[in-house]
């Protein structure tokens, strides 16, 4: 039997954008540049053993702190390791940390934010105060404290960064949920007897996703810097495994006679972070229906 439910749309009837968001993103030159750089770094990280000219851990006492030349494009470090190979392998730690920490933030932040926004009342009060409390601790200082108590390792650094970045996603999801909850189509979905969890997951969540994608991209940029910072302080990737932050930590001590040790890892962090920021900004414009 046909019910009124069959005639109601399942999700929000949004106006169809004239072009695909990805196409709109690529049309922005800066964002397209950012995306290209990210793809390049991902490729370097994935195929590091094939691309890197040397083993990133192989030391050579005959080639200590050699300036860049045809043999070692980026020079060698204090124990004769090839800086270029270490920068290439270092992309793995940075990308992994960026993506995994944001996934941790998302997987904690979205459910909690949805719950706060959808349930409201005391639950919302409690969650909001807790979020305020975490937000009151400066991001990096909280991450340092968490990493210190968990113990120094790349995994723990990712957990620490992920937890520290979570409140932003709770707030965003909660705010968006509150706005969407007031829309007519939610009322309609409730009127036909959908259970709350179904409305939250099938009707609210899909409408929060665009904002979350933008925030997640910018959060990856912040997480890459945070991982480099923790590694720089000795709380991330542990030596001898290569990571851009820990390479800079060592390079700092040789700045007067081997500056190339500091230039390339730092430039790589800068390029990767810049690219995620460019893509994030581009996505914000591309996904915003008002900017079409």
């Amino acid at each position: 039997m046909a019910t009124i439910a069959d005639t109601l749309p399942q999700v929000a009837p949004t106006a169809k954008p004239r072009t695909h968001p990805l196409r709109r993103l690529l049309r922005r030159r800066f964002a397209a540049f950012g995306l290209a750089v990210i793809v390049l770094f991902v490729a370097l990280a994935l195929f590091a053993p094939l691309v890197a000219p040397y083993d990133p851990l192989a030391t050579s006492w005959g080639a200590i702190r050699k300036p860049p030349d045809a043999e070692h494009w980026f020079g060698t470090d204090e124990i004769g390791r090839d800086v270029a190979s270490r920068v290439i392998f270092g992309a793995r730690a940075s990308l992994l940390a960026g993506v995994v920490s944001v996934l941790i933030s998302l997987s904690i932040g979205i459910p909690i934010g949805l719950l706060a926004g959808y349930a409201g009342g005391k639950v919302d009060m409690l969650i909001s105060r807790l979020t305020d409390a975490v937000l009151a601790c400066p991001f990096l200082i909280l991450a340092i404290a968490l990493a210190a108590f968990l113990g120094p390792s790349l995994t723990n650094a990712m957990i620490a960064i992920g937890i520290s970045a979570t409140p932003v996603f709770v707030r965003l999801t909660r705010g968006q949920t509150l706005a969407i909850k007031a829309e007519d189509f939610i009322l309609a979905a409730r009127a036909i007897g959908n259970p709350s969890w179904r409305i939250a997951l099938r009707h609210v969540l899909p409408n929060v996703v665009p904002a979350l994608i933008v925030q997640a991209t910018l959060a990856i940029a912040a997480a890459v810097i945070a991982e480099a910072s923790l590694s720089f302080l000795g709380l991330g990737q542990q030596p001898p495994a290569p990571s851009w932050g820990s390479m800079l930590n060592t390079a700092k001590n040789y700045i007067d006679n081997a500056p190339w040790m500091a230039i390339w890892p730092g430039l790589s962090i800068f390029l990767l972070v810049l690219s995620f920021n460019l893509v994030g900004d581009g996505l914000r414009d591309a996904l915003d229906p008002r900017s079409v």
Partner: protein, 316 residues
Amino acid sequence: MFTFLVRRIATIIPTLVFVSLLIFALQQLLPGDPAVVLAGEDRDPNVVAYLHEKLHLDEPFPVRYYYWISGVLHGDLGESLRLQRPVLALILEKLPVTLELASFAIVIALVIGIPAGIISAVKRNTAWDYGANVIALWGLSTPNFWLGIMLILLFSVTLGWLPASGFVSPFENWRANVASLIMPAFVLGNAIAAVLMRHTRSAMLQVLSSDYVRTARAKGLPETGVVLKHALRNALIPVITLGALELGTLLSGAVLTEQVFTIPGFGKLIVDAVFNRDYAVVQGVVLFTATAYIALNLIADVAYVLVNPRIRVGDL
């Protein structure tokens, strides 16, 4: 105003309680018996037993929290195991150095960020605007410890103009003090300048298209007057509040900057504490920064109400 203040302060109390709970709970993350970890590498059984007693480790979590928080409320943030000194005394000793660095950084951020924001809004879609945005993006994407290392390379190693590291007290030699803080303050201020520039730009763009600015122009006032007197005054209001949120960035940034330039401040205190496994100091510093952050945001909120006559306190 009074009721607004009372209400605003009332909202921060639960936040502070949660912050303290959270920071106390960090201890639970330590693997195994906290007393053994806290006792350091020697693991002297006497020290372990003493810590068990002192930290009330045999009591349940709520009881331990109660002991800890009542100490905190009486100004007792615990004792540094490594330095054998009260945590609060250590924090207060290092704080002036970081405050001086942070103040310099804020001045640099304001001097760069606000004029850049005004110019890029006034000269929208020109090379100026484009240039300012590129610089802002650069400021947001450069890891500040790397920027610090590069500045040392340029100004200390290559040109020999500035000291590469260290800190000289202003009471000892103010010239050397300024010289030791120029680079770190620039490194710290640079990222905040970028954020301030973006906020100022969008606030100015909004204000410049408003009716009263059009009226001011129609009256024949010179453009500089319109921009600086009429528009900027209103545009700066949101910049104050949004700028206050950057204080967290400032404190986080100070940790790395002090590490790069070996400045004996607050940030160096927490990093050293992390490596000495001096957990009471780590907890103390985080608690202190979070409380300072909450207090500064409260001040920014009050300032917002004070400078903006359109907000009647009764509305809040």
